[in-house]
């Protein structure tokens, strides 16, 4: 119970630091942010917006105000010229689910392909299959996701015309078309991840397969398939889990770029638009949102650890 409390406090501190950092970072903006945001405007208009953004207050108060709004779900405004206003939260509400869909699909593809490949490569370590899989994986890691996205969109989308090379269909509008529109983007993100996970699982699995308890399981006379999946995969997937947490960072970055290539209206496009139109309030909120999401994912993974390894559960209970 005390550990749980300590961890919650720790998490809150990290979240505060990260949000402060995101806020402060964008506030480093050189020049007058109001001018940057609204462009051509009159002096009274600028004064009004300056007051609205509390830029006339001390920095810490600005942050406190921003954080309070942020916690309430008010992510600030987008400014269309000196008078037009839009809500960042509305835009995020539209874009975020799409990005989450994309990341979820690529994660599913990744796990479905990487885990069996890694297990089999480890089981057949040193075989032709293993060497081939390893070499392919090494190559795939060197291919950036945007490069793969362009190759796929040209080859599969433009040349072969099998799948749309750009655009997004909402799942409620047409599920089949939705999945079609997401296939290439998800695949572009997945390939590099598959390679990484496969190599990792393979090397951990090779170590696990030399453990005494695997020999013990073998001596019980249970089938190899069961030994691999029931006895070896779980203890081998701990590193994988840690890296999965870190990889979500790469996945987010990849998704931003890949979305732009395939014309998917997700967070990537929102971010690009915010940069292009110098919406620094929006930029602040998006960066903070992504950073907080990333921290929370890693906390979830930390909790998952205890599910995977009972020894850690007890070690933590004692600590």
């Amino acid at each position: 119970m005390r550990t749980a409390l300590r961890r919650v406090i720790q998490l809150v501190v990290v979240l505060l630091c990260v949000s402060f950092f995101s806020f402060a970072l964008i506030s480093l903006f050189p020049g007058d942010p109001v001018v940057a945001i609204v462009g051509f405007s009159s002096a009274p208009q600028r004064a009004e917006i300056r007051h609205e953004l509390r830029l006339d207050e001390p920095f810490i108060q600005q942050y406190g105000h921003w954080l309070g709004n942020f916690a309430k779900g008010n992510l600030g405004n987008v400014y269309y010229g000196p008078t037009g206003r839009g809500k960042v939260s509305t835009q995020v509400g539209q874009s975020l689910p799409i990005s989450l869909q994309l990341m979820a699909y690529s994660m599913i593809i990744t796990l479905l392909i990487a885990i069996p490949l890694g297990v089999f490569a480890a089981y057949k370590a040193g075989s032709v299959f293993d060497k081939l899989a390893n070499a392919t994986a090494f190559g795939s890691i060197a291919l950036p996701d945007f490069a793969l996205a362009l190759i796929l969109s040209y080859w599969v989308g433009v040349k072969l015309r099998w799948l749309p090379s750009s655009g997004y269909v909402h799942p409620t509008a047409n599920l089949v078309e939705h999945l079609k529109s997401m296939t290439l983007p998800a695949l572009s993100l997945a390939v590099g991840q598959i390679a990484g996970y496969m190599r990792l699982l393979r090397s951990d699995m090779i170590a696990t397969l030399q453990e005494d308890y695997i020999l013990m399981a073998k001596s019980k006379g249970i089938p190899t398939r069961r030994i691999l999946w029931r006895h070896a995969v779980r203890p081998s997937s701990l590193t994988l889990l840690t890296v999965a947490g870190l990889n979500v960072g790469a996945l987010i970055g990849g998704a931003i770029v890949v979305e732009l290539i395939f014309g998917i209206p997700g967070m990537g496009r929102l971010l690009a638009t915010a940069i292009f139109t110098r919406q620094f309030v929006e930029l602040q909120s998006i960066v903070a949102l992504i950073a907080i999401g990333y921290v929370i994912v890693n906390v979830i993974i930390d909790v998952l650890y205890t599910v995977f390894d009972p020894r850690i559960r007890d070690a933590r209970a004692i600590a």
Binding site: Y213, M216, A217, S219, K220, G221, I222, R226, D309, R311
Partner: protein, 377 residues
């Protein structure tokens, strides 16, 4: 997903003779392919084990005793060459590979490993580790398997067995874990149990308990057992026969009592000297065996123990003694100058007089303050 069900318990060889020996090992050789060459880990071993009997296999680490028990079970990795004949209930299993052997594992023969800390899966509940072979081999329901696991845990002397079924290995002490390992090995009622150094990794205080448990289970179930150990003290009084191994070969084999009373091989004698005895004063020096076991890639010609043997003569260095039966039935050994015989006494006297054995190793009579080589009592 339910595992593929197969019924193998004892039904594979309905015509298996019930009167013949359970296990006959004949000229078994096991070699590991390594970049340095073939390692002759087991080099022509033979012995016979009757139903319900126990044999102790004793030797220093690296003598091939663990490899031998794994060879018999067929539990070795792929870079291994196995030769010779292994007959289980009269059926040849020496050339069986993976899939064929799986039907024997668990139901016909099983193994208790050395280190209970590393031999239990750390992320599986103890109950599941016991029931999985029951469910797979005997095709029983989940409830039945759980009942059986509970009974097994109780029979190996685990208190609060019901709670333990839901626990993970790290929640148990070393001795308890070894009891769990024994329960797993016994789950499908094997006819032959290999215990590979079952007490080496345990506290001295629990070693005897585990050995007693093994002995009790072996008797109750009329199960044959191969007890592998480096410690003659462990097998004394607990086995019917003992085979002493050195450099992949059996160098002496005898009924247990006889081996201690009529030791013939100098290596067995040296092993006996390394056991602490209660009668000895507590500060008494134990004799470690000087020198190292030979290189198993290029073993020396002649007797493999000759370089370390205080009895060694010129003949020992060039000619390997065969494993011959002695006058006493059931007692065989590999030595030209056996301990306790006239030849042996003469050989030792000659070496002491010369101050060195034929291999050049210095020997001293006990009491010599400068003794650094092999000390002879």
């Amino acid at each position: 997903m339910s595992p593929r069900r197969q019924k193998n318990g004892g039904t594979r060889f309905p015509d298996a003779p019930l009167d013949g020996p359970l296990l006959e090992v004949d000229n078994v050789k096991t070699m590991f392919k390594t970049p340095r060459g073939l390692v002759h880990a087991v080099d022509g071993v033979e012995f016979t084990l009757e139903r319900g009997k126990t044999i102790g296999i004793v030797g220093e680490s690296g003598c091939g005793k663990s490899v031998l028990s794994r060879s018999i079970m067929g539990l070795l990795p792929n870079n291994v060459v196995r030769e010779g004949s292994i007959r289980f209930e009269g059926n040849e299993i020496g050339h069986a590979v993976g899939e064929e052997m799986r039907h024997f594992w668990g139901t016909q023969m099983s193994m208790v490993f050395q280190d209970p800390m590393t031999s239990l899966n750390p992320v599986m509940r103890i109950g599941n580790q016991i029931t999985e072979s029951l469910r797979y081999h005997l095709d029983v329901s989940k409830d039945y398997a759980n009942e059986a696991a509970l009974a097994l845990l109780q029979s190996v002397g685990i208190p609060e067995a019901k709670r333990r079924l839901r626990e993970y290995p790290h929640q148990l002490s070393g001795g308890m874990r070894q009891r769990v390992m024994i329960a797993i090995a016994l789950a499908c009622g094997p006819k032959l149990l290999f215990a590979d150094e079952p007490t080496t990794a345990l506290d001295v205080t629990v070693q005897a308990q585990i050995l007693d448990l093994l002995q009790q289970q072996q008797r109750e179930r009329f199960m044959a057992m191969v007890l592998v150990t480096h410690d003659l003290g462990v097998v004394a009084g607990r086995t019917d026969d003992i085979a002493v191994m050195y450099a992949g070969r059996i160098v002496e084999k005898a009924p247990t009592r006889l081996l201690f009373s009529e030791t013939r091989h100098p290596y067995t004698e040296a092993l006996l000297k390394s056991i602490p005895k209660l009668a000895q004063p507590s500060h008494m020096r134990l004799d470690a065996i000087a020198g190292r076991p030979p290189d198993l890639v290029n073993p020396p010609p002649g007797c493999k123990f000759a370089p370390r043997c205080p009895y060694a003569q010129a003949r020992c260095l060039v000619e390997e003694p065969p494993l011959d039966d002695s006058a006493t039935p059931g007692h065989a050994f590999r030595c030209f100058y056996p301990v306790g015989s006239n030849e042996g006494k003469d050989a030792l006297a000659r070496n002491l007089a010369a101050g060195a054995t034929a291999s050049g190793r210095p020997v001293f009579a006990e009491g010599d303050a400068l003794a650094t080589g092999t000390v002879v009592v």
